[in-house]
Each structure stands twice: as structure tokens, then as C-alpha cells.
Assembly symmetry: C2
Homo-oligomer: 190 residues x 2
């Protein structure tokens, strides 16, 4: 199972067996059940989670009590409350499981330790964070200038099997549209 993490890292930088074993020793394996919370709004956020299997979501409840989905994370994605994790503050997001999920999680302390001890891991995390930054910029652009149809198509590119795995109400929440608008889009798309 940990081979998945190795393949993920080696998309960016090759590691020897010894190096990977050392990296892996800084992660902890944890399985979560469907509907279980991984992070709860208001808690301190200690870990960033690499998803080995399953499906998780992060979401936010605004001051009017309305909830909005921030991210879906399937295999090979990372999920956390990034702001709270990197600043070591309390979560403003919730993270929970849409399916039984297996994760390898890492504390910020261990991440920084690996970066300072292993040049390769500093390179990996710099490159990975840059990709995350670019993807976030793309999402911002899509939120301010695209219409629901384009946002839907971009989501389907990113997660082709999401419609089979997630209730439509959650996809509508991610896109910021009503279920009726989503039904119109999916019937056009089929």
C-alpha cells in the first residue's frame, strides 16, 4: 500500500529503497470509515493526509449556516485544512469520508524535518506545493470567470468517476449551483 506514496513521490524525484523507508517512517497509516470525521472545525490541525484509497471531502459552513464543499480527495490526492495546517491554527474546515478511506498522514514537524534532512524531499515538497498553487489559481479563475457548465466540465476532467461515487447534491455544492442546474448540465453532458 505504501508503494502508492512511493510512486507519487517518484513522479517528481527518484528515491533509493533506503531513502523511501526513511521517508515512510515519518508518516502514520490510518484507516477511516465512511462518514467519519478526519478534521473538525475548531480543532487544531496537526496533519496533512495522503489518500491511499477511498474518497474524502473538505467543506466549510459559512456564518449563515450554509455549507460549501472545498475539495474532493480520492487516491493520490492530499487533503487537510491547508491554512490551519501550515499556520498551526484551528480548523475553519471540516474533513470527512465519503467512503471507507486509507491514509498516510504527516505532521508539519515531520514534513519540515524531512525537508531539512533530505534535499530530495525539500525539492519534492517545493514542486508539489507549486502544482497545488497553480491548481488553486486555476480554480480561482474558474470561480470568478467561468459559467457553471465550464466549472462542471473541469471537475469531470479532474475526477472522471466522481458522478458514480458522490451524491449529486454534493457535486452541486462544490460547483455552487442548485441540484436542478446540475441535472440540466449532466443531461447535456451524457
Amino acid at each position: 500500500m505504501s508503494e502508492k506514496l512511493r510512486r507519487h513521490i517518484e513522479e517528481i524525484i527518484k528515491l533509493t529503497d533506503e531513502e523511501f523507508e526513511y521517508v515512510l517512517s515519518h508518516f502514520v497509516y490510518r484507516k477511516f470509515l465512511k462518514n467519519q470525521y478526519v478534521i473538525q472545525n475548531g480543532d487544531y490541525v496537526k496533519y496533512d493526509y495522503f489518500v491511499l484509497s477511498g474518497l474524502l471531502k473538505s467543506w466549510h459552513i459559512n456564518h449563515k449556516g450554509k455549507s460549501h464543499i472545498v475539495l474532493f480527495a480520492a487516491e493520490n490526492w492530499w487533503i487537510s485544512d491547508p491554512q490551519a495546517y501550515h499556520n498551526q491554527t484551528k480548523a475553519i474546515l471540516n474533513v470527512d469520508c465519503l467512503e471507507d478511506s486509507e491514509t498516510l498522514y504527516i505532521s508539519l514537524e515531520n514534513r519540515e524535518k524531512l525537508c531539512s534532512e533530505m534535499r530530495k524531499m525539500e525539492y519534492f515538497f517545493r514542486k508539489k506545493t507549486t502544482s497545488g498553487y497553480v491548481a488553486a489559481q486555476k480554480r480561482i479563475l474558474s470561480l470568478i470567470s467561468d459559467h457553471a457548465k465550464q466549472r462542471y466540465e473541469y471537475l469531470m476532467q479532474q475526477y472522471p468517476d466522481l458522478l458514480q461515487r458522490v451524491p449529486k447534491s454534493l457535486i452541486a455544492s462544490y460547483l455552487g449551483i442548485t441540484r436542478e442546474t446540475l441535472s440540466r448540465l449532466t443531461s447535456q453532458h451524457a
Copy 2:
């Protein structure tokens, strides 16, 4: 003037005089005039710009011809088309100047060269990109769950003097609201 770049880097990591001189030799100084384009939609994006003085904006025209502001960048901010710069592809954004502006720009090649030659600079860019990623996540959350009023207040926190420097129509474009809604917000705020 280059002292501004040094202070900016040294918020994260201290450099010796020799190290800073070496870093600086990888940047190029350029002054732009008000209204001048720095990046034009469709061009290859070679540089990331650190702002020494002035004010720039990045913006996007969607498929319906409507323009939206992505970012304002004043002193000590970086601006580019991140997706095109990091992937070395053509710009989907425009960047131009709202005021006469002075910049220090760096190519992706020189940035990677600095990162591979100087551990301190790899650390700096990793930390800087992490902050950018966290800020982008905050903006995404604000776009999907906040109301115009909260988005306006967050913008004013980030750039307290923006109202004095920028036409209201551009602030409305950044917030994704009409000028009338903005006038209502600013009069409440005053």
C-alpha cells in the same frame, strides 16, 4: 531599491551580502509605465515579477468577452500568470500597470538554478509558495462561501490603501459585484 527584495527574502531566511549579490544577479530590473502591458494573453510567459514600487493587476477575459480581475500587486508582491509561468505555456491572463511600476523579474530557469545551487533559496521559494498556496485557498473559500461584504472587507485588510489608488470599477470587477453594490458597501464601511 534592491534592498526591498533582500528584506522580502530575509523575512524567511537570512542571507550574507555575498549570497544576496549572487541571488540578485539572477534578477533583471525593469520599469513599466502606467497602462503598459507586462504580460499579454497568448504570449509565452517567461518571468515572475517582484514589485519594487507601483501597482499592477492581472486579469482575464472570459469566452463571453467579460473581464475579471484576478490579482492586484503592490510593493513586495509577486505577479505573473502562475499557470503559464510554471508550465512554460501561453498566458491566459493579462498583466498591466495601474501606476508607473518598478520590478525585478526572474525566469523560471534562473529560479530553478538558484534553488539547485543554494539550499537557502530552495527553502525560501518552498516557504513562499506555501504562503501563496494558503492565500489562494483562503480566496477560494471566500469566493465559494462569503458574501460580497466579507470579500470587500478581506480585500481592504490585504490592501488598505487600494480604494485611494484604484478606480472603483476595478475593485467591483475583482469582487465580482456591480459598481452599485460596491458603493453601498463602501458607504457602510466609511
